[in-house]
């Protein structure tokens, strides 16, 4: 007999239980019949058939597996006998586990998921080292020189363009185009899903070929393989599609956005920077490398730095060296750092989800405790019939495990559903990235959470079971055995639950109020009906002369678009952001305190900017075309007046700047309201505006390289966006354009974190409230059931129904009050921890008060039904039950 046969033999009773039992019976009967024939008078050899069958079963199977199957069936039957309990238990768990799965799914996709390339942990990005903001742009010559550096198996370059008009099949749109070096895809270890990817030969011949994303393939070619070989048009230049990137590949940028890749050498054809035009500023290439085996991040950085200093540093003596940084999760975007924005928040939310899970487990604990007490007699009987305590404990654990399994399954469904809701609250790039599928990692996490919850709540009945005495429950007829003893346990669980609910409700109130406050904040500008498009001239023919020459034509053209009320150019726009200038100033008549930072932020703007963006002019006048060649002028905000010109007439005062080539003196001609430029939560700092036309001449000394065109619209923004983009492409074909984006959408994105927080906190608060109500109801009704006899006695002795009802309510109210007492300091502590996330609330006890009142209300509701039951106790019946 082979090993396989032996295994099959052992598994047979499990797999074919019915047949096995039938055969066993038959064999047994045969034996008895033969015995009866031979010894008609009967003999001593009749054994217990049940014992024999059980014994045989145990002999033949993988013991525990069979026992587990039995226990599972037993647990399933006993759960089905109590559908109310099972429903409440599974729902509680589903909520607790689902919340954790959903948040983990977000955390995984936003913070943990690596790039879908081979060994993403070995990918690095080269950056300039130095005190400035992380800068990762290199010239083509630097790329070539660094390529020879040791420590990397390969180094590749990634260029790119702004939004470029594309015609592909039915699609007419604007997309960002990536110029990639020939070894870009090989470095990432990617293969095409259809056709092939760009290789070094394409780079050498500068073939006009393109690799498109899966999304574009679907949109333009409906996933037809014939897409390979089809032409697409990028900014008028024709490229041939040679392949489609893998479906999962969304680009190296953290927030994805990959659409089309073309050979680096051809990016000039679509308006990108020609790669070989030297100059440190002119080519903006990102360099991505793969670490060689056994080389650490620091090691590669050191070697690369040495190479860089020997080859390239002399050209820019102040540029410093280079370093490398890991980009396993993608290259962070400088404008929208999702990880910084959401990282802390998501961890806090996971904490809240953990609290919800605790509350759910506490619920299960009380429910199971009540159940265990009800089953005390059953357990005692089984113990006295010879079941081992270990066997009973195992059975209880299996029951807990089955509950957790059901809860986890339902929780996954809930999580899936919740994620769909949440996804819409996330800013676009995150929503795209999140993808929010329930992945294997999420399943694994859910299983772990379910296991944890079994350990948490499964311990309660186990603890009880091991303490169950043999004699007590049987002797006392199963009544009142625990009225005093373990009663404190379920009550303390409920108290803890109420405290947790209080904490979560308070938090929910704070976050929702914060969001409301933020939404009602006036940023000092009117957010509706603006569209902005950012123009970047760096690396183009406009670079040396700046965009100033272009501005008149652009404004005139934009003003002619139907539906445009007004148009203006500026370096920075409220909320939308931008760069501006930060020179040190001195204000006439103001003596700075010692060590006072006298830097002041300047935004160069064209006439009409304030009315276009909706910033109120308080005093004086707007800039005019007449300022162009005239004496330097400035307009300041009210914060500036309060800070530097308090009590004086600001009009006519002068500001002296020390920036640029020489000192300029600007005369203040107007005062405007405070507008918040970066963050709605941060009050405006003192700032000044100067005419765009005076920009290069007066303060900065540099040409205007990046400018934002903003238009105020009369109606539909979307139709206008296309017209605006076309206007920019026509008037400034060489300039990189990003957008258009509406300022309103930017505000929504800037509040996305607070929106998400408030919604999830409210959700968690509601869930905790429901869980607390269930827990309270369970405990109160359980105790009423246990005290039926006592209540009967009281009524027999003359207690009126209202007194009995009060007895029940009092119990619930005491529990809730205790919970609130415990919860208040906790809530204060948590409130302190999240203070940085709050806005405009100060020390506000209102939410705590509200949560307390709400919980008292819950106490009344949760004990109404048990109270009714108590009031209807018939003393005769209750006493007869003796």
């Amino acid at each position: 007999m082979s090993l396989l046969d032996a295994i099959r033999h052992r598994l047979r009773p499990l797999l074919r239980a019915r047949e096995f039992d039938r055969e066993t019976d038959e064999e047994f009967r045969h034996h008895l019949e033969l015995g009866a024939q031979e010894f008609p008078e009967g003999g001593p050899r009749f054994g217990s058939r049940a014992y024999y069958k059980e014994e045989r079963r145990r002999m033949t199977t993988l013991g525990w597996l069979d026992v587990l199957g039995q226990d599972l069936r037993y647990a399933w039957r006993s759960l089905r006998r109590t559908p109310g309990f099972t429903t409440v238990a599974v729902l509680s768990l589903a909520i607790g586990i689902g919340a954790n799965s959903a948040i983990f799914s977000l955390i995984y996709s936003i913070l943990l998921r690596p790039l879908p390339v081979s060994h993403p942990e070995r990918l690095v990005l080269v950056q300039h080292s130095g005190p400035d903001l992380p800068n990762d742009e290199f010239s083509y010559n630097e790329y070539r020189s660094l390529g020879a550096s040791a420590g990397l198996t390969s180094l590749t370059a990634l260029g790119g363009t702004g939004h470029v008009p594309i015609v592909a099949g039915p699609v007419h749109d604007a997309v960002g185009v990536d110029g990639v070096d020939g070894n870009f895809f090989p470095t990432l270890g990617l293969a095409a899903q259809v056709g092939r990817l760009i290789d070094p030969e394409d780079e050498r011949t500068r073939a006009p070929v393109a690799v498109i994303s899966d999304g574009l393939w679907a949109e333009s070619f409906h996933r037809a393989p014939a897409a390979v070989g089809s032409p697409i048009t990028l900014r008028g230049a024709v490229f041939t599609v040679i392949g489609v990137a893998p479906k999962s590949f969304q680009g190296l940028a953290y927030d994805g956005g990959f659409a089309v890749a073309i050979p680096l050498g051809t990016q000039a054809l679509v308006g990108g920077t020609p790669v070989e035009t030297g100059g440190a500023d002119s080519a903006a290439l990102q360099l991505v490398g793969r670490l060689a085996d056994g080389v650490t991040l620091a090691g590669a950085g050191t070697r690369l730095d040495a190479t860089y200093r020997s080859c390239c540093a002399p050209a820019a003596p102040d540029a410093g060296g280079v370093q490398v940084t890991g980009i396993a999760h993608g290259i962070p975007s400088w404008k929208f750092d999702v990880q910084a924005l959401f990282g802390r928040l998501l961890l806090e939310l996971l904490g809240a989800a953990g609290v919800v899970l605790l509350a759910a487990c506490a619920n299960l604990g009380t429910l199971l405790l009540a159940r265990a007490s009800a089953r005390e007699r059953e357990l005692a009987v089984r113990l006295s019939l010879g079941a081992s305590r270990g066997r009973l404990a195992g059975q209880l654990l299996v029951e807990s495990g089955l509950l957790a399994g059901l809860g986890a399954a339902a929780g996954l469904l809930l999580a899936h559903w919740a994620l769909r809701l949440i996804a819409h609250q996330l800013p676009g790039p995150v929503e795209d990235r999140a993808g929010l599928a329930v992945t294997g990692e999420v399943l694994l996490f859910t299983a772990a959470v379910a296991l944890l919850s079994v350990i948490l709540f499964g311990a309660v009945p186990l603890w009880r079971a091991t303490r169950t005495g043999l004699v007590g429950p049987l002797n006392e007829g199963g009544r009142a055995a625990t009225a005093r003893g373990a009663g404190w346990l379920d009550r303390s669980i409920v108290v803890a639950q109420i405290a947790l609910a209080l904490v979560l409700l308070n938090g929910a109130g704070l976050f929702v109020a914060t969001l409301r406050n933020l939404r009602s904040v006036s940023g000092g500008f009117s957010p509706e009906r603006h569209v902005s498009i950012e123009l970047d001239s760096r690396g183009t023919s406009y670079e040396s002369g700046g965009l100033a020459a272009l501005s008149d034509r652009l404004l005139a053209r934009a003003g002619r678009i139907p539906g445009v009320r007004s148009a203006a150019l500026s370096e920075a726009v409220p909320i939308f952001g931008g760069r501006g200038l930060n020179p040190v100033v001195s204000v006439e008549g103001y003596t700075p305190r010692q060590d006072e930072n006298m830097q002041c932020w300047f935004d160069p703007v064209t006439p009409g900017f304030f009315s276009t963006v909706g910033i109120a002019l308080r005093q004086g006048r707007d800039f005019t075309d007449g300022d162009r060649g005239a004496a330097p002028v400035a307009i300041v905000n009210e914060a500036f007046v309060r800070q530097y010109l308090s009590g004086r007439n600001p009009l006519g005062a002068t500001i002296r700047t020390a920036g640029g080539r020489d000192t300029s003196i600007l005369q203040i001609v107007g005062v405007v309201g405070d507008a918040r430029f970066t963050d709605l939560q941060v009050p405006a700092a003192p700032m000044a505006y100067l005419p765009l036309a005076q920009f290069q001449r007066i303060v900065s000394g540099r040409p205007l390289a990046v400018v934002t065109l903003t238009v105020r619209t009369a109606g539909d923004d979307r139709a206008l966006s296309a017209a605006l983009r076309n206007a920019v492409f026509d008037e400034a074909p060489a300039v990189q354009a990003y957008g258009p984006e509406s300022i309103e959408a930017s505000i929504d994105a800037s509040l996305s974190r607070q929106t998400l927080t408030a919604e999830l906190a409210a959700l968690f608060g509601a869930v905790a409230l429901i869980l607390a109500a269930i827990g309270l109801y369970g405990v109160v009704s359980y105790r009423v059931a246990r005290r039926t006899r006592e209540i009967g006695v009281r009524m027999a002795l003359g207690a009126a129904a209202p007194a009995v009802v009060w007895l029940v309510f009092r119990q619930a109210l005491v529990l809730v009050s205790l919970g609130v007492l415990v919860g208040v300091p906790l809530a204060f502590g948590i409130g302190r921890m999240i203070a940085a996330e709050l806005y405009g609330l100060g020390r506000n006890p209102f939410f705590l008060l509200g949560a307390g009142v709400l919980l008292l209300g819950v106490a009344v509701v949760a004990s109404a039904l048990p109270a009714r039951r108590a009031a209807r106790v018939d003393p005769l019946i209750a006493l007869r039950a003796e």
């Binding site: 034996h31 031979e38 002999m59």
Partner: protein, 112 residues
């Protein structure tokens, strides 16, 4: 879980030995095995179903015995047990082990 093995190792081992020896006669059903042992021991050894069939299962699980359903002389379906090659090998080992044991017991009792 409780310990399910018979407490007396000698007993279990002896039952296995007796069954394997009996099956060297040929394929037999359970009742025949029991009766054979009882008769050969002149009814000194009683074989209960409660120990016979678990022992047969144990022997099957170890691969020393196989079984198949067949028609018995009375016309009823019955499960016939057969000793396998590895069972025969095992029987040899068990017999020599038993001989040693029997000899040792006899020596202790002063009869050898």
């Amino acid at each position: 879980m409780t310990d399910r093995r018979p407490r007396n190792e000698l007993l279990a081992g002896t039952m296995d030995l007796l069954i394997l020896q009996t099956l060297t006669l040929g394929a037999l059903h359970g009742y025949a095995i029991a009766r054979h042992i009882e008769r050969r021991s002149q009814d000194t050894l009683r074989v209960e179903q409660g120990s016979l069939y678990p022992a047969l299962e144990r022997l099957q699980a170890k691969g020393w015995v196989t079984s198949a359903w067949a028609k018995s002389p009375t016309g009823r379906r019955a499960r016939y047990y057969t000793i396998t090659a590895s069972g025969r090998k095992r029987l040899g080992q068990k017999i020599s082990a038993f001989d040693q044991l029997a000899l040792a017991v006899s020596r202790v009792l002063g009869r050898a």
